[in-house]
Symmetry: D2
Subunit: 380 residues, 4 copies
Amino acid sequence: MTRLRLGMVGGGEGAFIGAVHRMAAALDGDWQLVAGAFSTDASRNERTGESLGLDSQRVYPSLDTMIAREQAVSADQRIDAVAIVTPNYLHAPMAIAALNAGFHVFCEKPMAMSVTEAEAIAKAARASGQRFALAFTYSGYPLIEEARVRIARGDLGKIRLVQVEYLQGWLSLPIDTDGNKQAEWRTDPARAGIGGCLGDIGTHAFQLAEHVSGLRVQSVSADVATHVPGRRLDDDVSALLRFAGGARGTLKASQVAAGEENGLKLRIHGERGGLEWAQMEPNTLMLRWLDRPTEIVRAGGPGLHDGATALLRTPAGHPEGYIEAFANLYRAFAAAIRGSNDRSFPGVVDGLRTMRFIEAVIENAGSDKKWTMIDSGENA
Amino acid sequence: MTRLRLGMVGGGEGAFIGAVHRMAAALDGDWQLVAGAFSTDASRNERTGESLGLDSQRVYPSLDTMIAREQAVSADQRIDAVAIVTPNYLHAPMAIAALNAGFHVFCEKPMAMSVTEAEAIAKAARASGQRFALAFTYSGYPLIEEARVRIARGDLGKIRLVQVEYLQGWLSLPIDTDGNKQAEWRTDPARAGIGGCLGDIGTHAFQLAEHVSGLRVQSVSADVATHVPGRRLDDDVSALLRFAGGARGTLKASQVAAGEENGLKLRIHGERGGLEWAQMEPNTLMLRWLDRPTEIVRAGGPGLHDGATALLRTPAGHPEGYIEAFANLYRAFAAAIRGSNDRSFPGVVDGLRTMRFIEAVIENAGSDKKWTMIDSGENA
Amino acid sequence: MTRLRLGMVGGGEGAFIGAVHRMAAALDGDWQLVAGAFSTDASRNERTGESLGLDSQRVYPSLDTMIAREQAVSADQRIDAVAIVTPNYLHAPMAIAALNAGFHVFCEKPMAMSVTEAEAIAKAARASGQRFALAFTYSGYPLIEEARVRIARGDLGKIRLVQVEYLQGWLSLPIDTDGNKQAEWRTDPARAGIGGCLGDIGTHAFQLAEHVSGLRVQSVSADVATHVPGRRLDDDVSALLRFAGGARGTLKASQVAAGEENGLKLRIHGERGGLEWAQMEPNTLMLRWLDRPTEIVRAGGPGLHDGATALLRTPAGHPEGYIEAFANLYRAFAAAIRGSNDRSFPGVVDGLRTMRFIEAVIENAGSDKKWTMIDSGENA
Amino acid sequence: MTRLRLGMVGGGEGAFIGAVHRMAAALDGDWQLVAGAFSTDASRNERTGESLGLDSQRVYPSLDTMIAREQAVSADQRIDAVAIVTPNYLHAPMAIAALNAGFHVFCEKPMAMSVTEAEAIAKAARASGQRFALAFTYSGYPLIEEARVRIARGDLGKIRLVQVEYLQGWLSLPIDTDGNKQAEWRTDPARAGIGGCLGDIGTHAFQLAEHVSGLRVQSVSADVATHVPGRRLDDDVSALLRFAGGARGTLKASQVAAGEENGLKLRIHGERGGLEWAQMEPNTLMLRWLDRPTEIVRAGGPGLHDGATALLRTPAGHPEGYIEAFANLYRAFAAAIRGSNDRSFPGVVDGLRTMRFIEAVIENAGSDKKWTMIDSGENA
């Protein structure tokens, strides 16, 4: 089976998430990175391509050049997809350009700067017939799939409570004005959008809550804070959620929870029991029950359904982690491009929902009213 | 040192919390139970007194009789204090009667049915000069004291985030209409007050958050739900909190989190680090830091300040639990009666704050406005 | 129900274990401490009695005096039992004297200085018809009882592996020559016996392993070390165990595992699954299975058998700990004295087995042979 | 930077460890799989090559053919190294053939069937000047490197105790006679050698204990059992260890610990503190101290030394696991081939030590003597 060919925009040396995309794409042998426009700094771009062993002819100064030149390459060598790993403000124009040029797109989250932009991507994806994947990485964990399926098949009964939190501490100090590139653009409205912590990790929390519960948030009541003086975007978000069907939820995201690492945690309770999953111990799913002892469902262990097992590469007790979860998205993305529908991955719908969530939170937090509706997105 | 003498109202055989009070009072040898009005059912009252080895002359049909008769007992035999372990609606009349009669009072929480009632107790306590303790048991844990002191002395820097949650699952089914006495009165507005889950455990969460953080909640935005059909009071509460000084908080309390036991958990983050304490593993306090590894401060282990060590009875690694925490309150209550001010215990102020919190939550949850102020309680 | 009356020998102010015995005896209201010979230092003895609120007439200079005087007290006031909380070398003479005088005995472990002494106690207990309890406290935990019953009824299938460990670090430094009283006598062969760490905590590990597994150790191969220079007894023990029926085991006990608190942990695996219990989180029993997810059986939670539930005082999620476990032994001891056989407690058989274990380990560790048999103790 | 080229022998479709080697080699882009002799079954061999996208000309029927043909390939296309992922009995002949032919070798553990065979590999490696890596995967975890360095620099003081255990349950039933290929060869002396569980996972435990402690085991006292009737090799090992310098150790390895997954755990205590690492939560290293709170050192978190940080690919809180640890070995192996000495990897010395350990355990377990020396291996 020949590998699919990937071109990457962004992700020059020193960037975090570009390297993760490359490892995730490489892990299972579905993808080969063959082209890139890694940096607008020509020498950094060149160095990155070289260190990755790319043909220098396919290290491009920009996405536009990549698109133009790759369209001229013979079909059996041409890139199949573009990975977009740039700051948020470039997602929409780049995704639309790549889709319109006939390339599939694997894009970093959040989808765009606004619902309007996100809808434009959605439209381009529909029109072009190309696949659009969004890096809601946490959906790729096997035990998230286990959790999703168990709720969908009714193990917990009707869902009553959804609690999701995502706690980081890395923005506790004003490093955004102190030369930290990652912090800099994430706290700059022109590059990140209207949400800071909200857009960066609040979106992950929201997407995971809806993805696993299978429920849609109807309305939100939110408090948004900027704890570090001088910071231009929020660094801390709290929200009450009301789901269609009556479930109640809370969402907490913070990047000033000093000492926390990457604490994404989801708890969902239904009539008969509850489940708990924490990203930092991703191979464990706790199932609590009204009438029998708590169970620990483990990656590779007994009780896992086939769909979750299929997302694993090793036997029980051999920890798989973040890169493997990410690789599961790239694998599903490849399978879809090859025509299989066996595995889903986050895409247009997840992206639109999270953009609507961002806008609803910001609107509500700035108002005196208790609840703000989240558009159901029928027209997505 | 002679023991202080305790009379108990409520807590007949089969009741949960009365037995806990008795064990807590007995543990350290400060108290001796010598009198009781355990039940309005005469034979149950008698049997309880007998099983506890009480002199049958001091097993009374009612608090009023207890008060009248004990006042006639010689001072060196008379009860020093009354423990009130009845449903909420009896707290205020009983506490006021006992205080006015010259007895100290150790009362179950919540303090009363309303702020108005609570203020009447406060007034009686002031007027009588008697001590009034409230069973906010969780304040009695040694590592809660450690947490409180560390925040007070600034270890974490300025506090930014307070997250408190209290998850139980025991009311997931409609057991309140199925003969469960504990559930029955707790879901009956006439006996429990305007808050169900809110009054029963939301108050614990609120008190603990304020007690440890040393901060006061200024305003609250809340969502209150009743998930079990037919239930007359809330069984699930979510709230956003704004603290004086700028800290933001979340409070979650639920009695329909199916499969959860008694999951009270507090997390507080400041500029430099955060702490985490969970009631179900109470001998551990996690301290997370921006710039150094997370520390596990342990009951009896290195790093504990003297005030916390004084609340322990055994060396490190010998678990102490709920009854010991409760006993710490009885010990502090006894010390105060004997004239020492070394140890504090929850009382009038904590009680009034929580009653104001209950009323603010219910008001906010029933309105369209985002925030409801909590009275600062200057007149407490 | 009137309380049983307890006299205590040892346990003067400052001692650790005497205070624990007093709290454990007080907790459930079965016992009342009415007499004591707390210290050979007359003023310390007096102060202890006074602080405990004892009648000064019943604070005796020695056990012998206590025995003589109490025998003269009227039967309805006389002590029922003697708690012996002295260093090891006094256990046998004191226990025998008390038993022979017609008092029940609750004795600290290890039972005695040698198998010979232990057999003499056993003989006195038989001859006197009095009850003899040994403070193998860990047997009193509810989830130890749950584990024992589950193995006895075959949940795990035939037992193959038993792993027990008890790690402490408090003797990592030479505090025994530095004024620490607890360390001093425990490392003195004249007061502690031939085992240091072995006798102090190795015995707990051994007793728990046999108690829960229901199996008897037939032979042992051991390595015994003294890591701290100048120390006169072992501070570290490792042993391989062979059980009757074919199970294999390991036992590790150390008091120089620097940084460890009181790490007693038991793991037992059978054909179909395994269980794990750790004293520092005593309310949890992990059950692992070949063919289904691991279960967490919790104190007060679903799945507990009645015998374990009966050892609890509070609902699930309210931690009970070391003192409560100890109190369960005092409660069972009281019940037995009152004629009930419902609850067992560790006694003569456990004591003799552990003394035989001590002697076998010391013999084996000093020899070149692989295995040393442990006498089956038929004549116990 | 061009990739190194890898040929693989063994690892046909369905095999576990071959796929792990391929993912580990791919992850960081250092290696490209270009040739293979995956199976002696021709069609399985072909299918495996095809599914991996290999040129069919480089899918060979045997290692010998691979060697012969690759030697004829131009140097810039020829494989640099051979990965040997066959059952144990083929390790020595294959490794020696590949080394002698001028290829580097990355071999599965245990190194060989005997010390004699292992010495022959060692000799071939020395003579050929080629690199020889052994898949002691657990050495590749970042926090194992952290632990090793902390002990080497004396953080814990002189080491006193080493406890290592490796518990699996997958051989609890007689699956070796029931068609399970993995179980079949591992319990067949002709293919696995004289150790079953001992060779398969006991070697991992032993290697990790020596690697991290920096100490050498001098003598061993062991008990070896076969719990499943009819099984031809051991499935359970217990050993006492004596280290040069006076430290004492225990080693436990079992494949019949029903319900356990892949429970490799290492604890080492010195004069001032202890550390604990468990493979199933590999991103955490617990550091316990005599005089200050326990610290949790985390992958990517504060306190990590640079050598451990260099083994990570993601920020703190993004779990890395088994495949990443494995990839660290492939990365170090590549670096060594390219001439760097920055990173070490397990090789000849580790292999010889573990083979000597296997032989010492089997000898001791079959004898009546207490201790068996492990050859110091000066001639390695």
